[in-house]
Symmetry: C3
Subunit: 277 residues, 3 copies
């Protein structure tokens, strides 16, 4: 129900129209396996319109039942996604912030609760919100030994939302999650594999796509309804806690981001970024 | 309190009388360790009367305080239990389904919350509901390297109830549980051991019974009250979520099983089974 | 809010004045890292006044923002802490018991929810409540291979409170926690390391302090606010369940401890202790 309502809100905000195609979606007609590729230069940062478009695609895939399984990957070399677009936090106002955060919440929920199987082919660094995107799929293949993945918010000066943390807990347990988020550590591929943050590390993208297809073909061979019900039940605790806490979080985030000291921190951050260029 | 009420419900349904002894119970007079052996041909499938009898035995053991520790095993070669009796799902009606599911829920709760220590001696394949039975004991010994254990519902076209999933999560964690139920994998003994789904694998039943007795004798040497309170606290989250969700689940299961497409699926299943014979 | 109220209650009870200094607190002026050393002979047992003093120190550290990171250790050779002072359970009354348990609850919450990073340098056995103290820090270094740590309540005849169990679950998972508390096992250093109950084992105290300082300096280098918010979110489930259950637990504990059979058990225990001397 919340989906429909949010959909309408987004429609009114006219987030649908984007000037160029930020996301490529292809479906193999034979296997009915789809591949969604993020291609928003320079680093697939998750802005309001990008997240809205991503959410729309997941809505369409869910409603049309046009796909039997989905690969989520990137068309940008060496970057899976750099995470939330920090520009959305800076020199903004309450209304824009609310739209941003609500879109993030809605889109994540769609990704996390698909009835069809999903695989992240992580063909670049997966940072913060980019790590969340990968973590929300059912299976994670790292398409190269030199990529890193993690929630590094403590190094940036924002906080990973509670549901980022809860999703990570389901993958690597409470202790390793606390350690990871309180250190802001980005895990190299092999380390990520050893703690369970990814499921497989291969040498290149073609091998990763093979892995992903194997996973999806096995998933597709099972009874879809049974699978979807059990996926819902597996993820129910995280989802219910999120639904219960999302409003309070929205309020907290909006208030916190607009604090003068935090705006100042973003200012310093963006000025240091400019100098790097 | 819920126990008493359910007891009365079952009484009225006259599930107590079974034509032959489906479960054997022996208690060693010296050690006060009991052994409960399932012996319902051909595969210890969990039907309404079988589950009711099992629940009654757990009630009696709990009330009479006649046992200090319990081994749960099978008298059927190579089968621990094949899980829920699928016949209970086919060509049935609302009332019978409700009785079946309520009996399953009640009996499981009794097994999961015993004040005395329990060990599963898994001397055969433990499939779906059979896996749940083993998972609900305190300690699991696999009595042979060739047996398998798992929740394979996704291959059958039913769904493992949420509390099957929650119990598995307490043993092997959230990630491995999602992977296990979404693939329907049956784990060979050594693999089950490596992920923590069983605690020990030995070569044969006598070795398994030795292991079980060692576990129980150590447990019995501790203060029973302290142990029982802490066991309740260890399992409290799973039990409270179950109690909160059991009614809604009952309603969902009854509605879902009686859907024409699912009845058709069971029909196909049973006809394919007949052909195999 | 609960903190303030409890603070006032404690004030009225005059738990603040203690005859000798039971806890030593030093802060390095350069690094702003503090070291809190328990030194209550003979075994750092956690009595009402000792817990109250410990809680006060944590209050002051939190309020004054005088520390950037805290090491929690012992000044008693070979003993980190033997846990709750069992004398508080014996020949007592409802009012004293309530004060004891409330102080324990309050002090633990303060330790568990510090905004600053904490490390346990475990330079001796950490038994029951002493294990909880170590488990509640962010990072645990065992300062010698011969020390042990665990919740051994099942051997003593009391029960580890549900939140001791919940904290342990966050460190070593549900299955290992149930196994640990139902066996009352004290884990030697290397075993504790292998299951994740401690994070590091070194040969001696200086090495342990080095480890602790390294952890804290890294933690301090991150954004304190982001870190504190995420620590709160990491520990939120345990804290919320504790807050919801603490009153009922208080009532249960008071009733249970004062049962004649349990008072008799304590009597036997203390008389056997006297004979040992």
């Amino acid at each position: 129900m919340f989906r429909l309502r949010n959909f309408l809100v987004l429609k009114n905000c006219k987030f649908y129209s984007t000037d160029k195609k930020l996301i490529d979606l292809k479906t193999d007609e034979k296997t009915r396996i789809s591949t969604l590729s993020l291609q928003k230069s320079p680093v697939n940062s998750l802005s309001t319109p990008f997240l809205a478009e991503l959410g729309n695609i997941f809505d369409e895939l869910e409603t049309s039942k046009s796909t039997k399984g989905l690969i989520v990957t990137s068309n940008i070399p060496n970057i899976y996604s750099a995470g939330l677009d920090l520009m959305e936090f800076y020199q903004t106002d309450e209304k824009r912030l609310e739209a941003f955060w609500t879109t993030l919440q809605n889109t994540w929920l769609k990704i996390y609760t698909t009835s069809f199987p999903t695989v992240a082919v992580i063909n670049g660094h997966a940072v913060a919100g980019g790590c969340l995107l990968a973590m929300s799929c059912e299976y994670r293949v790292m398409a190269g030994p030199n990529y890193t993945i993690g929630l590094n918010e403590a190094k940036i000066g924002i906080n990973a939302p509670f549901w980022f943390i809860d999703v990570m807990k389901t993958l690597i347990g409470d202790r390793k999650t606390e350690s990871a988020v309180l250190s802001g550590e980005m895990f190299p591929a092999e380390k990520a594999l050893s703690i369970g943050l990814v499921d497989k590390v291969v040498q290149n993208v073609p091998d990763a796509l093979n892995e992903a297809n194997t996973y999806l073909q096995n998933a597709i061979s099972l009874i879809p309804d049974s699978r979807a019900i059990m996926k819902r039940d597996c993820r129910r605790d995280v989802v219910e806690k999120f639904l219960k806490g999302r409003k309070e979080e929205l309020k907290f985030i909006v208030g916190n981001v607009l604090l003068p000291q935090n705006q100042e921190r973003f200012k310093v951050y963006f000025e240091s970024m400019k100098k790097k260029k």
